[in-house]
Amino acid sequence: MKLDELIQSSGEWLRGEGPEADIVISTRIRLARNLSQFPFLTRADEAARVEIERILSGQIARLASRKSLNYFDVTSLQRLDRQFLVERQLISRELSEGQGPRGVGFSTAENVSLMVNEEDHLRIQVLRSGLALESCWQEINQIDDLLEEQVCFAFNEQLGYLTACPTNCGTGIRVSVMLHLPALVQTKEIQKVFQALHKIGLAVRGLYGEGSQAMGDFYQISNQTTLGKSEEQLIKNLKDVIPNIIGYERRCRTALVKENRQGLHDQVSRAYGILKSAQTITSEETMQHLSSLRMGINLGLIEDLPIPTVNELFIFTQPAHLQKLRHSSLDSGERNVARASYLRERLAPQN
């Protein structure tokens, strides 16, 4: 598979299917693993990194037949291509901007990705549309088992899987659910949610994980700790709390409609209007209006647009995607024009 072919389609996780898909965009689980016979990457010289990459890319090739994985050597990718993969959630910013031999194997459907030589030797990720904690865990656990048949991961009885950063040791698992919470943001109730989540040891992050801003009212809720609780317990913690947040967002939406249906309908329609007709638009403004529009569709205020299209637009209007679509390098001003033009095309009545 060629990287450029990806622009023709979007990942399966954007399809807006699965339980609670109006609020839950996606579920993701990742595992951090290290080969026991090598130092962690901070102390690994070039030769060790080459060897780790050779072993793990070989393992990914072995898995390829079962999972239809494509492996890319990240060092040979252009900056734009690396950013493109970050926007699609297939690699992390750390892998994109890192140094030395590193790579990624991901499935054609874009719901499995294995990063080599990121912060740890291996980061396995499984991504699904909607709320799908169990099926994510089943698949990632199976991939981990298949790898463990062939390689030895650093592990000790007391501290579990050993990772470069002590914050990940134990299970090495991060379970995250990405939620779209526009009504909680608009009513400013979101702060209460953050505080409650913090108290029970769950972290809240933006669209692109650690350190990223919450764009388009998207929030990733994930476990903070990895040691001392089993994978199933950590998953259950999230599974227990997510329905409460979904319920809270739904109640806020209902209240917004009840208080001022006309005002809300106006706000959503104006957002739609701007997206359909703007001649130049920033990424930030796009995200904000797409968020309104997405909520409007879910509330039945807008009827002529399917959710998967809106989900896709969040990703396809980002800088690297626009440049891939236009087959050229664009500065920020040119991107704003290209973004507006792309939005007009996608939102034109015949589509």
């Binding site: 026991s36 090598f38 130092p39 950063c165 700790t225």
Partner: protein, 171 residues
């Protein structure tokens, strides 16, 4: 959670290792800035009050010199970059890391997936350690039926680990 010095909500959470003991601090943005600049002005990263403790300082210096025999990383380098150098660091710096892990995770014992294949067949060793502990409890509680069951299981596991080719773990 509230800031520890003023009533604003805490947005910054700092874990500090002093003399091998982890301490948590919770600040709002403003107080965090103040705290960090104070620590900087003192020329080290110890919290005020502790910094004056000379004994503590020399102990910390000693601690910083501690190096992993496997990868060579010093504890100071780890403190600086927040990343360990190799899996063996968890053993080499165990005494210093355990309080830190406790403050991060609230736990210091893994409970969850165990790889099917581990170096030195440590999974069986781990199970043995656990079973022997349970046997002790069973005997103390005079649950002899349970104890007999555990003893059989232990004997079986011991035999299995003895027959493992590279392992000579005879009891």
């Amino acid at each position: 959670m509230k800031c520890q010095t003023c009533p604003s909500p805490a947005t910054l959470h700092i874990t500090e290792i002093v003399k091998g003991v982890a301490a948590e601090h919770h600040f709002c943005d403003e107080c965090a800035q103040q705290y960090l600049s104070q620590a900087e002005a003192k020329g080290n990263d110890l919290p005020p009050g502790v910094a004056a403790d000379e004994e503590g300082e020399s102990k910390l210096k000693e601690l910083d010199q501690l190096a992993c025999p496997n990868c060579g990383i010093t504890f100071k380098e780890f403190r600086k970059q927040g990343r360990l150098g190799c899996p063996h660091d968890y053993v080499a710096f165990q005494e210093e890391l355990l309080p830190l892990l406790e403050s991060i995770h609230g736990e210091t014992q893994h409970f969850g997936k165990v790889p099917k294949r581990t170096p030195d067949d440590s999974r069986k060793q781990y199970r043995l350690i656990k079973l022997r502990g349970e046997l002790k409890v069973a005997i103390a509680e005079e649950s002899y039926e349970q104890a007999a069951k555990l003893r059989d299981e232990i004997q079986q596991l011991e035999q299995e680990t003895q027959t493992a080719p590279a392992e000579e773990e005879t009891e």
